[in-house]
C-alpha cells in the first residue's frame, strides 16, 4: 500500500507547484525538502555564517512562495528558485553594507552527498572562498560553483560583463595563491621550474 509520503514523492513538480500556490502545506514542504540543500548552499557561500545564511535562505523561500503564482514554467523551477536565492543573498549582503569577515569554519550545516573525494580539499576551498574580497567571491561562486554566465552575473550584480570576467580571473588567481600558500606540498616546484 502506498503511503502519503510516497504519493508526494511521486507527485510531479507541476502538481506540487499548483498545490503550493493554493497554500497546501504538504506541497510547500515537499518543494522545500527537494531544494533546500541547494538553496542553502548558495546563500551560505555568499553569506558570512550559518545564521545569516539561514536568514537569507528563509527570505528566499518566502519570496519564492509569494511569487509562485507568477511562475510560468518558462524556466525550470529549480533554476527560477535558485535565482531568487542568489538575489536574496546578494541583496542581504548589500543591505548589511559590509560583510563582517569571520573565519567561521564551513559549516555547522551538514554537506549533502559530498562530491569531492577529499573532505580536506573541500574545507580548504570553502575557507579560501570565505577569505576572498566580496566582489571576487560573489563572481567566483556564481561562475565557477553555480555555473552562471558572465552576462547573467553582470545582470545580477549590476556590473558590466567585462567586470565580471576580470573579477573572476582575479578571484581564481587569488584562490590559487591562497591554496598554494596553505599547502606546503604545492609550493615545491611550480613557477620556479620554468627555465625561461
Amino acid at each position: 500500500m502506498q503511503d502519503a509520503s510516497s504519493t508526494d514523492r511521486a507527485m510531479t513538480e507541476s502538481d506540487l507547484i499548483r498545490r503550493a500556490c493554493d497554500g497546501d502545506g504538504s506541497a510547500i514542504r515537499e518543494l522545500y525538502e527537494r531544494y533546500a540543500p541547494r538553496v542553502f548552499a548558495v546563500v551560505r557561500r555568499i553569506a558570512a555564517d550559518d545564521d545569516t545564511a539561514q536568514d537569507y535562505a528563509q527570505e528566499a523561500w518566502i519570496r519564492a512562495f509569494r511569487a509562485l503564482p507568477t511562475f510560468r514554467g518558462d524556466a525550470r523551477f529549480s533554476t527560477w528558485l535558485h535565482r531568487i536565492a542568489v538575489n536574496s543573498a546578494l541583496q542581504g549582503v548589500r543591505k548589511a553594507c559590509t560583510r563582517e569577515k569571520r573565519r567561521v569554519p564551513m559549516p555547522e550545516s551538514v554537506p549533502v552527498d559530498p562530491r569531492l573525494g577529499d573532505p580536506l580539499l573541500q574545507d580548504r576551498l570553502e575557507e579560501a572562498l570565505d577569505r576572498l574580497p566580496d566582489g571576487m567571491r560573489e563572481v567566483l561562486i556564481l561562475h565557477d560553483v553555480e555555473g552562471y554566465t558572465h552576462e547573467e552575473i553582470g545582470e545580477m550584480l549590476g556590473v558590466a560583463t567585462g567586470t565580471s570576467k576580470s573579477q573572476l580571473f582575479k578571484a581564481r588567481a587569488k584562490m590559487r595563491d591562497m591554496l598554494r600558500t596553505d599547502d606546503p606540498s604545492a609550493q615545491a616546484g611550480g613557477m620556479e621550474a620554468c627555465a625561461t
Partner: protein
C-alpha cells in the same frame, strides 16, 4: 617570453590562448603546471556539495509562511496589503469573531450558558490561538494601526489566529490531542457554537458583504448543525 601572469592563466582555464601564450605553455612546464592546477581548482569548485540547512529550519520557515498566509491548509484565501479587507471596520468585525475563538476559549464561552467551569481544553484553545488575544489587546492593536500596511499585517495576524483556533477546535473535537472530556462534550460544543453563530452574525451586520466573515458564519452554522445531529442521534443522552 616572460611567464604568463596569474590572471592570464586564470583566463585560460576556460579561454583560448593566443599564439604567443600557446607557444609559451608548450615550452614552460611551470606555467603549464600552474594552468593545470587552476583547472583542477575550478573543477573542484564546481563539485562543492550542497549543504543541508540547520536543524529547525523548516519549522521556522513554516511558521513564517503561515504568518504570511502562504500556507493556508483548510483556509484557502489570501489577503493582500491594501485590499478592502484591510479596513478598520473589517478588522473590528474580524476581531469580534476571533475573540470568541481565542480570547476566552470555547469552554469559557459555554460556561455562562451551561453553568459549567471552563475546561482545560478550552484553555488550550485560548493559549494556542490567541496568545495575547484579550479584548483590550486587540483594541490596543487596532488603535495602533496607522497605515494600510499595518492594517494588512494585523488582518493577517488575526486571520492566522482564527485558523490556528479552528485547527485546535477540530483537534479537540476529534480528540486527537489525547485529551478526554472537556469540550468533547457535544452539549458544551453546541452552546459554544451557538454563541459563535451569534457573534458571526453580529460581525456580518457590520460588514455584510465580507466573504471571510460569511465563510466563518457558514462553517460555524454547519458545525452547529452537525453537533445538533450528533446530539439527536445519541437520543440526548449526552445532555446533562
Amino acid at each position: 617570453m616572460r611567464h604568463l601572469t596569474a590572471e592570464a592563466l586564470a583566463r585560460l582555464v576556460d579561454g583560448t590562448p593566443g599564439p604567443e601564450e600557446r607557444e609559451h605553455l608548450r615550452s614552460c612546464t611551470g606555467c603549464a603546471a600552474e594552468l593545470e592546477a587552476l583547472r583542477e581548482q575550478t573543477e573542484a569548485l564546481a563539485s562543492l556539495p550542497e549543504i543541508r540547512p540547520p536543524a529547525g529550519d523548516w519549522s521556522e520557515l513554516e511558521s513564517r509562511l503561515r504568518s504570511e498566509g502562504l500556507i493556508r491548509d483548510g483556509h484557502p484565501r489570501r489577503i493582500r496589503p491594501g485590499s478592502r479587507f484591510a479596513s478598520r471596520r473589517w478588522l473590528q468585525a474580524a476581531a469580534a469573531v476571533i475573540l470568541f475563538f481565542g480570547g476566552t476559549g470555547l469552554g469559557a464561552m459555554a460556561a455562562p450558558h451551561l453553568g459549567v467551569p471552563a475546561s482545560t481544553d478550552a484553555g488550550a484553545v485560548g493559549s494556542n490561538a490567541a496568545g495575547s488575544g484579550s479584548p483590550t489587546t486587540v483594541e490596543a492593536s487596532l488603535d495602533g494601526v496607522r497605515t494600510p500596511e499595518e492594517a494588512a499585517d494585523l488582518v493577517r495576524s488575526l486571520e492566522q489566529r482564527y485558523v490556528d483556533a479552528l485547527v485546535r477546535y477540530r483537534q479537540l473535537q476529534s480528540g486527537s490531542d489525547g485529551h478526554a472530556g472537556g469540550s468533547g462534550d457535544p452539549a458544551s460544543r453546541y452552546a459554544a457554537l451557538e454563541t459563535l453563530v451569534a457573534a458571526s452574525q453580529a460581525a456580518i451586520r457590520e460588514a455584510p458583504a465580507d466573504p471571510f466573515l460569511n465563510g466563518v458564519l457558514a462553517s460555524t452554522m454547519a458545525e452547529r448543525q452537525a453537533t445538533l445531529t450528533r446530539i439527536s442521534e445519541t437520543g440526548g443522552n449526552d445532555w446533562y
